[in-house]
C-alpha cells in the first residue's frame, strides 16, 4: 500500500463527506426548529437532478449550484405547508415528500441520464500547488469542499450566536413559550425549513456536479437517511457534524484501505457501521437530559388561542 493510494482514498472520502455534511447541516436546522424532515432523500434527489439539468443546459456549473439550492429550498416549502400550515403529521408528510422526490427527479433528470457533465472546477490551495503533480492532483478540490467546514461553523454561529438562531431553538424546544416571548413559531419553522432546504440543495449539487459528474435515478442511494442519522449522532450540533460526516464517509475509505492490506471485510457490513454506531451512541446517552433532542421535535404546533 503506497502513500499515494492512501492519500487517494482519503481524498475521495472528502468528496463524499462534503455533500453529506451540507445535507446534515440542513437537517440540523430543520430539527432544531422541531421538524423531522424524512423527505430529505427526496429533496436531495430533486436538487441533484436540477443541478445536472441546469449545468448541462447552460454549460455553467455555478448556475447549476444556484438552481439546485433554490430547488431544495422550494421543495422544503412543500413540507412546511404540510406540517406547519396544514398541521399534517411530520413523519407521514416527510415520507410523502420522499416519494415526490423520487418522481420529480426522474422527470427532471430523464433527458440527462448517463450524460457526463463538466463539473465544478477544481483547484489546489496555494501551499499545496508545489507538490509533485501526482500528489498535487489529489489535493485539488472544488470550491464547495473548501467551504464545507466554514459552512458548518457558519450554521453553528447562526443557531447559537444570533437572535434568529435563538428563535429557531426556542421554537424547537417549546413553541408556546416562544410564542409568548413574541416569536411567530409558524414563520420561524417556514424559515428554518427553507434554510435547511438550501443547504440540502448545496449538498446534492456537490454530489452530482462536483463528485459523480452525471445523473442516474435514485443516485443519492440513501444519503438522506445517513444525514438524518448523522444529525442525531452529532447531537444536533453543526460542529460535531463535521467529525460525524468525516467518520461516516471515512468508513468507505477505511474499507478500501483494509482490502488493500489483505483484510477481507464485506463492504456491505462496513456500510452498516454508521447506523449501528448511531444506535450505540443513543443507547449510551440513555435518557440523559444533557443530550436530549429538541423537546418538541416531531410535535404539531396547534397555535395558541
Amino acid at each position: 500500500m503506497t502513500a499515494l493510494a492512501i492519500l487517494g482514498v482519503l481524498s475521495s472520502a472528502l468528496f463524499s463527506g462534503a455533500s453529506l455534511l451540507y445535507a446534515t447541516l440542513g437537517e440540523t436546522i430543520n430539527q432544531r426548529a422541531g421538524i423531522v424532515n424524512l423527505g430529505l432523500e427526496g429533496v436531495l434527489l430533486i436538487s441533484g437532478a436540477t443541478a445536472v439539468a441546469v449545468t448541462s443546459l447552460t454549460g455553467n456549473p455555478y448556475f447549476g449550484i444556484l438552481a439546485a439550492v433554490l430547488a431544495g429550498g422550494l421543495t422544503n416549502i412543500i413540507m412546511a405547508f404540510l406540517v406547519v400550515t396544514r398541521k399534517g403529521n411530520q413523519l407521514a408528510s416527510g415520507l410523502a415528500l420522499m416519494f415526490f422526490g423520487f418522481g420529480v427527479s426522474a422527470l427532471i433528470g430523464r433527458a440527462f441520464v448517463g450524460l457526463r457533465i463538466d463539473g465544478l472546477p477544481r483547484f489546489a490551495l496555494p501551499g499545496l500547488a508545489n507538490l509533485p503533480p501526482r500528489y498535487s492532483s489529489l489535493f485539488q478540490f472544488d470550491m464547495l469542499i473548501y467551504l464545507a467546514i466554514p459552512a458548518a461553523v457558519f450554521v453553528w454561529w447562526l443557531l447559537f450566536r444570533t437572535r434568529w438562531g435563538l428563535g429557531v431553538r426556542a421554537v424547537g424546544e417549546n413553541a408556546d413559550t416562544a410564542f409568548a416571548a413574541g416569536r411567530n413559531p409558524n414563520l420561524v419553522k417556514y424559515q428554518a425549513l427553507f434554510a435547511g432546504g438550501l443547504l440540502a440543495g448545496l449538498g446534492a449539487a456537490h454530489l452530482t456536479i462536483a463528485y459523480v459528474l452525471n445523473w442516474s435515478e435514485f443516485m443519492t442511494g440513501g444519503r438522506g437517511f445517513i444525514a438524518i442519522a448523522l444529525v442525531i449522532f452529532s447531537k444536533w450540533n453543526p460542529i460535531r457534524a463535521i467529525a460525524g460526516a468525516l467518520l461516516f464517509s471515512g468508513a468507505v475509505a477505511f474499507q478500501l484501505l483494509l482490502q488493500a492490506s489483505g483484510v477481507e471485510i464485506s463492504p456491505f457490513l462496513l456500510d452498516t457501521l454508521p447506523y449501528l454506531l448511531t444506535i450505540l451512541v443513543l443507547m449510551l446517552w440513555g435518557g440523559s437530559r444533557k443530550y436530549a433532542a429538541p423537546a418538541s421535535l416531531g410535535r404539531v404546533y396547534m397555535g395558541t388561542e
Partner: protein, 352 residues
C-alpha cells in the same frame, strides 16, 4: 374520539368516519389527477388519453385488476405492521427493514431445505419470515421498553441496515452462478400458490385474514382491551397491573413479524427469487397507508387498493408516454399531499 359504550352510537360514528373517508379519497383523486395532468401536459401528452390508459389498464380488465391486487399485497401487510403497534402508541417506521429481514430469513429456508415438500417448506418459510421481521423489531422494542431509545429513531435507522445485510448474504453466499445480485430461482415447492392464471398469491389472502383477525382481536379479547388501555393512558394502565413493557416488546415484535411476512410473500410469491434492493419503499408506503387510514382495517384495505391502482397504472403510463416509471411517484405523492393537508372538497357530515 368518541368513547361511548353504546353500540348504536358507535356504529353511527363508524358510518360518519367512512363517509369522511370517502370524501377524503374523492378529493385526493380529483386534485391529484388535476395536478398530475398538468405534468403530463407539460411533457407533451394528452392527459385524458393517458388517464384512460391508466385506469383502463388497471380497472378495465380482470388481468389488470388482478395486477392491482398483486401490488397491494405487501402494502396491506406492512400497513398492518404499523397499525398494530400504533394502538399502544408505538411508531413503527421500520416496516421496510423488517420486510427485508423477513425476506432474508425466508430465503435462507428456501435455499437450505429446497428438497422438502411444499406442505412442509412453505409453513417453515412463513415462520422464518415472521421470525426475521420480529427479531428486527426486537431491538427497537427492547431499547424502548428499557427507556433507552425512542423506537421511531431505531426502527428508522435499522431500515437502512437490513438491505445491506441482505446484500451481504446474497453477494457473499447465496448468489446464483449467473448473477451476483440475486439468488437462484426458488424451487416450485418454495413458491406460494397463486390464484388460477393470475399472479395473485396466498399472501393477499393472509393479509386480509390478518386484518380481520386484528379487528376481532382488538375488539373482543382481553389483550385487545389492555392494548387499548395502554394506548389511552400508559401510566394508568401500568397502575392497573397491565405489563406495559412486556406489551411494548411483544406488540412491536408482532408488527415486525407481519412486515417480515410481507417480505416472505414478496420473495416466495411475487419474485420467486431474492434480489438485492428488491423493495423500493413498500415498508414506507405501509406507514403512510396505515397513518392515512387511522389504523382502521377497512380503510387500510381501501387505501392500499388506491395506491396499488396508481402504482400499477404507472407501468402503463411508462409504456405509452415514454416517461420513466418513477414519475408515477409524483401522482402518488400528490394524492398523499392532498390527504395529509386535510383538504376535503366533498365535506360530508363533520365528525368533530
Amino acid at each position: 374520539m368518541s368513547t361511548s359504550a353504546e353500540s348504536g352510537r358507535r356504529s353511527s360514528v363508524i358510518i360518519q368516519m367512512l363517509s369522511g373517508t370517502v370524501g377524503r379519497y374523492l378529493s385526493m383523486l380529483v386534485i391529484a389527477l388535476l395536478l398530475f395532468g398538468i405534468i403530463i401536459l407539460i411533457s407533451g401528452r394528452n392527459p385524458i388519453t393517458s388517464y384512460r390508459e391508466l385506469f383502463g389498464s388497471t380497472l378495465g380488465s380482470w388481468r389488470g385488476f388482478s395486477e392491482v391486487l398483486v401490488a397491494m399485497t405487501p402494502m396491506v401487510l406492512t400497513a398492518l405492521a404499523v397499525a398494530l403497534p400504533a394502538r399502544i402508541g408505538l411508531i413503527n417506521v421500520g416496516g421496510e427493514g423488517q420486510l427485508y429481514m423477513g425476506a432474508c430469513a425466508a430465503t435462507w429456508g428456501a435455499l437450505t431445505f429446497s428438497a422438502a415438500p411444499a406442505w412442509l417448506l412453505l409453513p417453515l418459510m412463513i415462520v422464518l419470515g415472521m421470525l426475521g421481521g420480529a427479531l428486527w423489531a426486537l431491538i427497537p422494542g427492547l431499547l424502548r421498553a428499557m427507556g433507552l431509545v425512542n423506537e421511531t429513531i431505531t426502527t428508522l435507522l435499522l431500515n437502512a441496515v437490513a438491505p445491506l445485510l441482505v446484500a451481504y448474504f446474497v453477494f457473499g453466499f447465496w448468489h446464483s452462478p449467473m448473477d451476483t445480485n440475486r439468488t437462484p430461482n426458488f424451487v416450485e415447492a418454495a413458491r406460494l400458490p397463486t390464484l388460477a392464471d393470475t399472479r395473485i398469491d396466498l399472501g393477499l389472502l393472509i393479509g386480509i385474514f390478518l386484518l380481520a383477525a386484528f379487528w376481532l382481536f382488538m375488539r373482543y379479547t382481553r389483550w385487545g382491551l389492555e392494548m387499548r388501555a395502554i394506548g389511552g393512558n400508559p401510566e394508568a394502565a401500568q397502575r392497573n397491573g397491565v405489563p406495559v413493557k412486556l406489551y411494548i416488546v411483544i406488540v412491536l415484535c408482532a408488527g415486525g413479524a407481519i412486515a417480515g411476512l410481507a417480505g416472505m410473500a414478496q420473495v416466495s410469491g411475487y419474485y420467486g427469487v431474492l434480489l438485492t434492493g428488491f423493495s423500493r419503499g413498500a415498508g414506507f408506503l405501509g406507514f403512510l397507508i396505515s397513518w392515512l387510514s387511522f389504523g382502521n382495517p377497512v380503510s387500510i384495505l381501501l387505501t392500499s387498493f388506491l395506491v396499488a391502482v396508481i402504482l400499477t397504472g404507472g407501468s402503463m403510463l411508462q409504456l405509452t408516454t415514454a416517461l420513466p416509471y418513477a414519475v408515477i411517484n409524483i401522482l402518488l405523492a400528490m394524492a398523499l399531499f392532498v390527504v395529509l393537508s386535510g383538504i376535503n372538497i366533498f365535506p360530508g357530515r363533520r365528525t368533530t
